[in-house]
């Protein structure tokens, strides 16, 4: 299979590989996929408590080149966005940016899932820290 130049670039020079302290109340961690399916993504965001803006994002991915590129791109896009803006990122935008072929669309879906899971984890932590009951998702301060 031929990869697009952007996929190759992200594979060879992945942005923001690493881990953030997962117990930090301002860090949200998303872990999606399964080893037996051939891809697992861990995506983390760190939200600035004063501005509500994601000022750091990290990933680690077990998966094909397109999965690595999708998560690497996602971390690039997440930085500087508010939580709500982050939730608006669509897998189709990742597909378009990386020119993913149809068989690789699931990689972009997984990246979108990872973003949503990371944000959900962050919100849950914030709620717990603020003493809000888990169900009341919208009670947390948003930017």
């Amino acid at each position: 299979m031929a990869y697009s130049n952007k996929v190759v670039d992200h594979y060879e020079n992945p942005r923001n590989v690493g881990s953030l302290p997962k117990d930090d109340v301002n860090v949200g961690t998303g872990l999606v996929g399964a080893p037996e399916c051939g891809d697992v993504m861990k995506l983390q965001v760190k939200v600035n408590p004063d501005t509500g803006i994601i000022d750091d994002a990290k990933f680690k991915t077990f998966g094909c080149g397109s999965a690595i590129a999708s998560s690497s791109l996602a971390t690039e896009w997440l930085k500087g966005k508010t939580v709500d803006q982050a939730l608006a990122i669509k897998n189709t935008e990742i597909v378009a940016e990386l020119s993913l072929p149809p068989v690789k669309i699931h990689c972009s879906v997984l990246a979108e899932d990872a973003i949503k899971a990371a944000i959900a984890d962050y919100k849950k932590k914030q709620d717990e820290a603020n003493g809000v009951k888990p169900a009341a998702e919208h009670a947390l301060p948003s930017a």
């Binding site: 990869y3 190759v8 594979y11 992945p14 590989v17 881990s19 872990l31 999606v32 996929g33 399964a34 080893p35 037996e36 399916c37 051939g38 891809d39 697992v40 993504m41 861990k42 990933f59 680690k60 991915t61 077990f62 998966g63 094909c64 080149g65 999965a67 690595i68 068989v103 879906v109 997984l110 899932d113 899971a117």
Partner: protein, 404 residues
């Protein structure tokens, strides 16, 4: 050293220049139809075909009359299985095969199942070999054929062919083996192994693509096959179609070279394969060999690099041609059914690389591959969440994964 490096000799092999040289005259000057009985052009072609038949027969200890030329091993497997099922259907309707067979065997059996044939797919043990007890237990009075490959195309594991042959003989059941990966690479003798039908391919033994052979025993017992391609009655009526004279000459020459050089090649490649294996084990932790190391082709290695996905590995070693059992590298998007059958878990199938060494593999190439692969595996593990979790003491098998 020239890049890219070819280390995928199970997929195909280049034509040996000596094979090409033998073939050349038959494209132009000696272009006759081997079935033309009334002029020298035909005689010349027929003579070349018969020399090739003898060369192939000599490689497997057969009589030349017992070889039928085909378009390749897929056709040979189809002809053997369908030909027997059709010819012996009054005698029985049960065939025994194995889950790790090549698709040319598995899918042929599946098709025949739709037409009423009963098929037993024997499982394999952790080492990739079938259990002879399970084979014996699956035989019924309706069993007409056992078809078990000699060596597997992914993991290189060699099945207990002589033992299977003895069981088949004792029970009066025909025994077919897809020997594509083994013939020409390790000793193979139809008498010692008691095989009745053997599939062979030219392009796996440094011959051209598009030509193969099927050994069909003529004596004790005399095996009959229902033709699957009808026409002019070529090849003892078992396979019609104008003979591919150039291809057959190439197959013959390739077989002769294998017979003469097999031992030397196998010794050299066995050492190189062991070097590849040992050096990778020295450099990397948590790498696992798939299938038996004891009963294995000398030029095969199949390793899973835990916590790293196969396609991303291949991407990192893009100047080395190897294969992976990862789902992402297959057309079906399913991980290798052969590796899954070993029961090691789908995650290890996704992380596997198949190395196939061959006649032109050098020590320098092996060392290059070790070095490159080590670096890529280390780099990918640094970005693998699984590797990180394992190093933190997480038991991955107890995780609840979010799948979709």
């Amino acid at each position: 050293m020239k890049l890219p490096i070819y280390m995928d000799y199970h997929a195909t092999t280049p034509v040996d220049p000596r094979v090409l040289e033998a073939m050349m005259p038959y494209f132009t000057g000696k272009f006759g139809n081997a079935a033309s009985r009334n002029h020298p052009f035909g005689w010349e072609a027929e003579e070349a075909v018969e020399i090739a038949r003898k060369q192939v027969a000599d490689l497997i200890g057969a009589n030349a009359k017992e070889l039928i030329f085909t378009s390749g091993a897929t056709e040979s497997n189809n002809l053997a299985i369908k030909g027997v099922a059709e010819m012996y259907r009054e005698k029985g309707n049960h065939v025994i095969t194995c889950v790790t067979e090549h698709k040319a065997v598995v899918d042929t059996c599946k098709k025949l199942e739709k037409q009423g044939l009963r098929v037993t797919y024997l499982p394999v043990q952790k080492d990739g070999r079938i259990s002879l007890d399970e084979l014996r237990a699956s035989i019924t009075d309706k069993t007409i054929l056992i078809t078990i490959m000699t060596a597997n195309n992914e993991i290189g594991v060699i099945q207990p062919i002589a033992e299977i042959g003895a069981i088949a003989k004792e029970k009066g059941i025909l025994f077919h083996t897809d020997a594509v990966q083994a013939v020409g690479k390790v000793p193979f003798d139809v008498t010692a192994l008691k095989t009745d039908l053997v599939s062979i391919s030219a392009h796996k033994i440094y011959g051209p693509k598009g030509v193969g052979a099927l050994y069909v025993r003529r004596r004790n017992p005399r095996v009959l096959l229902a033709e699957q391609i009808s026409g002019g009655g070529h090849e003892r009526g078992m396979r019609s179609g104008t003979l591919n004279v150039t291809g057959i000459v190439g197959l013959g020459k390739a077989a002769e070279l294998c017979r003469l050089e097999m031992q030397k090649d196998a010794e050299r490649l066995g050492k190189l394969r062991d070097r590849l294996n040992e050096e990778l084990h020295k450099n990397l932790d948590e790498i696992y060999i798939n299938g038996s190391m004891e009963h294995r082709l000398p030029h095969n290695l199949n390793i899973s690099f835990a916590y790293v996905e196969g396609e991303s590995l291949l991407m990192g070693i893009n100047d080395v041609a190897v294969s992976s059992g990862s789902a992402c590298t297959s057309a079906s998007l399913e991980p290798s059914y052969v590796l899954k059958a070993l029961g090691a878990g789908d995650d290890l199938a996704h992380s596997s690389i198949r190395f196939g060494l061959g006649r032109w593999t050098t020590e320098e190439e092996v060392d290059y591959v070790v070095d490159k692969l080590t670096k890529v595996v280390q780099r990918l593990r640094e970005m693998s969440p699984l590797y990180e979790m394992v190093k933190e003491g997480v038991d991955l098998s107890k995780m609840q994964w979010v799948t979709h």
